[in-house]
Symmetry: D2
Subunit: 445 residues, 4 copies
């Protein structure tokens, strides 16, 4: 019998955390933040020192007490990738467990940068494992990292192999046959697991399980960028692009086309610097060769003065602030807080979607209205998602042929669509496909 506790991310989108127990060993998969609530909590604490209790009160981190009686058994904490909703709670609660952290090199670099930012330290050892590698946790349990694609590098599906079968945890993933950096997902290994009937339980990201499609490849977002960056005349104009700081593949495309535009490229904003350095540290990209990276406010101000002097049309500005965050670089520029004016028909390219919660929608709306008042050209939605859709979910289920399925990454409004798909494929609700909520447990036999 394998026991599962769905600690977080099953009653809302965010703060992913799942515990897998086999005999006296527990493996914790992901330990993430609910980012909106985290930001809310930070906003009320201007000095920026927030402790775990406060975050817990705000609902920003997973509720550990759901696995209180498993605490001493936890042997490993395994974030699947570098997004905050998967590893962002580690600085706050990992120390409560006598367990190593196991992740890919990029996630490790990001985690270390976050800890450095907070001037914090962790007692847990951070161990790295490359994609497609295997780690023998102890006599009974083997951990396998299976390469997948997503919107940040070195994302893995994690297989927890036990003598009674494997738990395959795929949260988040995308099936990209034409990735811009990194390898395709390791379909071969997934099919192998399926053929050998090894997968007792599949836990998978159900966010877009209502969309009748295969999520389009990142290479398509790249083509859309090419179209907008190289296909629209921008002579004498300031050109600004904004995207997710952790999306290294997207940044690479931006840098590639910026180079073709014969513009010097600058990255402006703390998170852009943080993720770029992490990606360089593990050899994924070499941005620093061709990009001037300005993480600190003072650097940003200095380079903007230089750009003013040398000519704005000699530069491509890549900035933070794609969701209209009031304190990111883009909002600061627009509000005149950085003394760098935008003129009519300058370009602002949003290589992202608006993440649909009320605050982002309002922030973006306010930002776009200000841009319109400045008569700036706006290019929106130059983006493809990093999450699988219904037809990818189907392909994954066929490949690994699991006995049981638990949909993750959202409340019932999301997971119910994956349940519907599983039922179409012959699974039965309550028997082989399971609707879980935060804090519930289930035994898989």
């Amino acid at each position: 019998m394998i026991e599962i506790c769905t600690v977080g991310g099953y009653s809302e989108v965010g703060k992913n955390m799942t515990a897998v127990k086999y005999k006296d060993d527990v493996v914790v998969l992901d330990m993430g933040l609910q980012v909106d609530k985290y930001i809310g909590a930070k906003d009320e604490n201007e000095d920026d020192i927030i402790d775990a209790n406060e975050l817990l009160g705000q609902g920003a981190i997973p509720e550990e007490y759901f696995i209180k009686n498993w605490k001493k058994y936890v042997k490993a904490i395994i974030p699947t990738h570098a997004h905050l909703d998967h590893l962002g709670a580690i600085p706050y609660i990992a120390a409560n467990y006598d367990a190593d952290i196991l992740c890919t090199p990029f996630s490790s670099e990001v985690l270390k940068a976050i800890l450095k930012d907070r001037k914090a330290d962790l007692p847990n050892k951070i161990m790295t494992l490359t994609t497609n590698a295997v780690y023998q946790l102890n006599k009974d349990i083997k951990i396998e990292f299976i390469n997948t694609t997503h919107s940040t590098p070195q994302t893995v599906m994690v297989a927890v192999h036990t003598p009674e079968g494997s738990v395959l945890y795929c949260n988040d993933f995308k099936f990209d046959n034409f990735p811009v950096i990194g390898e395709k997902p390791n379909f071969k290994r997934l099919r192998e697991l399926g053929k050998k009937k090894k997968v007792k339980l599949l836990i998978l990201d159900s966010l877009y399980s209502h969309l009748a499609r295969k999520t389009p490849s990142e290479s398509i977002a790249r083509e859309m960028l090419r179209d907008v960056m190289l296909g629209v005349p921008s002579k004498n104009k300031t050109v600004i692009v904004t995207t997710f700081a952790s999306h290294i593949a997207r940044l690479k495309s931006i840098v590639d086309f910026g180079t073709k535009m014969n513009r010097k490229i600058v990255f402006l904003g703390r998170s852009l610097a943080k993720y770029s350095y992490a990606a360089e540290a593990c050899g994924i990209v070499k941005f620093s060769k061709s990009v001037e990276i300005c993480g600190f406010s003072s650097q940003v101000k200095k380079i903007l003065r230089k750009i003013e002097k040398q000519g704005r049309d000699k530069y491509l500005l890549v900035v933070t602030g794609h969701q209209g965050e009031p304190n990111a670089v883009l909002s600061k520029i627009v509000d005149g807080r950085l003394k760098f004016r935008l003129f009519p028909e300058d370009h602002v390219i949003f290589s992202c979607t608006t993440i649909p919660n009320a605050l982002n929608i309002a922030n973006r709306d306010i930002l776009e209205n200000k841009l319109k008042a400045l008569k700036v050209r706006i290019f929106k939605d130059i983006h493809m998602s990093g999450h699988a859709s219904r037809e990818d979910h189907r392909d994954l289920i066929h490949m690994v042929n699991p006995e049981h399925i638990i949909p993750a990454h959202g409340d019932i409004s999301k997971t119910s669509n994956l349940i519907d798909l599983a039922q179409e494929l012959g699974y039965e609700l309550g028997k082989t496909v399971h609707l879980m909520q935060d804090g519930q447990r289930i035994d898989i036999r």
Copy 2:
């Protein structure tokens, strides 16, 4: 003074028709159907013989009486491209004018095929002019075809040059820098017109003038198709693709990837046959080399029996019915009217969007529900539009630098967004940018 009558397509989307009068000469630009109303009229007339009066009563063709007193002056009828909302009314009303029809070869072929279908003939002479060519209509007026991109081949912007300046008619167009077939738009000539300050009046498609973007290139739709056709396992499965019959570039991509899938390709449905043959006739593609084209019902039935016998996974079926039309091939297959069953996990790829009117939405909804009941895999919205967006409109206006602007291709809810853009660029409503409705006239001095 140049006089303009906005005959049709200014109070709704459809039945485009605009008359340009200079002294005693009138040029008619487009003569299209309102396709929804046309279909409505046809549905009530099972024998399929509909005359102009009936169509007029249904609002399916432009109301000629708006230019009754100009009738004898009409010297040329010029459809810009082969879509029905631009040339579909020619068979019904062109004979009322003692005027030649002037269009590109592809439009000419399509027009002839439509006439043949109706067993009708036209007294008007159909003359072809290649893209980027010029035709001297008479002493005063020169007609120039300027190459542009759109969702059907050989679409042109038409310049009507008069001694008092030019009217540039751009309805419909898209600015595609990476077209799949044909050349890029003739930006050079557009800029030239702008520099010489020749354009007295620009009439342009405003359909998507509310969208803050540049319309993505057709090459991106091609990549999306590649992703779905080559990236999803389809062994032993029937694969069906449906798209706009007139969209030859899209069909070319489908044929290219179908070939890579090692499947024989068949086109099923009358309109697919009609447009494919037209494209071949003027040398745009050579589908008949690699595709079996079955226009007639009897051919469709015969080939489907053959496919059943030889193995469905040896074929790629390209069919009509992307909007869920009840009598197109896709609906017939799904309803079992063609004795060709679909099985669970067969693929149906919609390389289109649902054109958002209530009837299409209902038809598609009904069709998709039937497909779901059959447990077929659905891949939707593998598509990019053929219409320019706000940032393309801006580029066009900058290039040609017109004195006056009239937005076309829709009612006030569409055109008002282009007026907004024009105002942002310094035009004044009522003075240099004009809100027109069906049947109104304006003098441009």
Copy 3:
């Protein structure tokens, strides 16, 4: 132990049917149609003779085989009210059970009218029980009808009392404190059941459990009608009202205000006649005193001719066709099929909402466009729903204080919101609140 089988209406909206088994007795609650699919099935069978097998194939009636092994135990079939999605399958499958039908007098009259229409007969005895009455089914089981409000008269909540506790079935209901006809819900009895802790299981309509409100009273719809019928000048104009034929309270308001307008009132259409006569037969209203009711086509045509002659502004026309159904009286008038023209500024009042499925939306859209083309004045959405909202659900749960809850009347997208509410009130998913799908069983201990 009480066993429940959720036969129909738990995986979609429609074809409600639930079986309650205690020892060797089974009570079937509701036996309804999925009306959209029923209409689909009828459309393909022009001669109008459809049998149960065909309807089953189309998914239009509940799938009895889910309770095949309970068949011989069924002792009673109890439709809660007269809507087709609750009693419409009785003519097709009730005969398969050796069981009486038990319902309120109005439901009984409607059922008999439906049977007469189909020229069918039923072996089952139809017994009536008044609201708030109790019926001893046998030694173990007592059936109680508890009065509630809804959008049709004599709707009841059904309590199935067993020695091990009661199942309370509330599907559909509304809590209306100011009903236009009939009594308020029997809150006293509901509270009594709650205080005595008798309710083992509550099954309830969850359709609007996402709406943060109490559903407004029918008296408010009445005021809205007053506002539109008496407050807008209608001299010399034709005035048409259309609403749900089974909504006797709404019809009463229409008749009341029609009388105040000094117009003679006519009901046009088969279903209006059927439900009106049923309501009269059990003494709910006396429409025939003040209304001319024309059910048959010939009657409709005759009265319309009379109206033409005597003056259209002397009449108020109440007609079928509120959802834009192509063959209802309203569509026939608009299409000219009844030779009764509408003129500019005539009134058409829709005392309903558009039931949101694609077909209704398309039908209504088409109808409204035709009305607009005729320049008719349209008054939409003069309506309040007959279904409880989230705050009514909460009140019901507090009143009856059930041990277990099963949300009904929809798939997971509907029921999940009621699960959310139940969780807010302390119920636990999988333990005391249960997510059921069509065909599942559960034992309540």
Copy 4:
């Protein structure tokens, strides 16, 4: 010839201002704020002293320079009612004109309260005129106030009578046949103007001209309130209602039902106090008899402590904050800033809609999520609008039978729907119905 300058409110919703010039006399109708931008401007100025220049820069007040050359001719400034978007700019710019302010008593009281708040004074004389009264401005011009209904008391339509015909300004209005306070609109006078063909130009509120309905009466909102306040059990619960402070009729209904609930009523918040006192001052209501009105923060805190002590279920709290404004009383309570806790199943009734701009939507979303987290019961949308809909617009046009029409109260997306209606009634765009934008002028002959 009468000249019109549409100064503000024709290119967006807000800052209404229209100037009517006849010979050497100019009458200014309305002088309002764009409230969102006004709040934006205030937020950036914590000391709360904002001057006209700053507001002008933010687009929060009308741009007077559009009528610079008419400045010396302005003889009267006439706000139609007490809403800020109609009179809120008076404190900032009225002093620039040597002109009296002419309004109804309630508007006058509100205006004085605003001036007092700002510790400001105005050189202009404030004169009051009762509804349905006439004022002879000078030899040529007579001003007539025609009573209408709206969502604040003593709203008037203003007729500016000149020897060459009248301008009738109806911005804002509603046609309520069953108002809760005040009289019905003066339909008799409107019809009289129509019969005598006096109305040269009608300027009217077009905000809801796309809605196919007559706006429901305020009496219906009252019934909805009754239903929720008296129909839902609230024993031992805190009950909070929030609505528009200027909506005296709504407040009266709340007070009436609060009294029936046997609860003492308190009004909490500055704007509630301001408008209530204004309404009392001119004899519209006598709230102070039955309501404790607490405008100042200190009063609010004191009464809340008293309520805690005496029992929260003995009170009905009417509070500011219906749009989720972060500094209104409701948000302060929810955030714990007033030390008055809410408990599970307390009631919060929103007698309003969310005004649909991004900031309100976000604020309300955030507020409602906090309320849900507290498990408070939410009753939303207990409201009917104060703005006319399409069928009311039609009735007004028929009554007054104007020669010309100008739609007001919004940009082209709003006004275009009224243009559509006017065209349906035979008016011609550009000839008799005019699309105006901020700052444009037109001569009416």
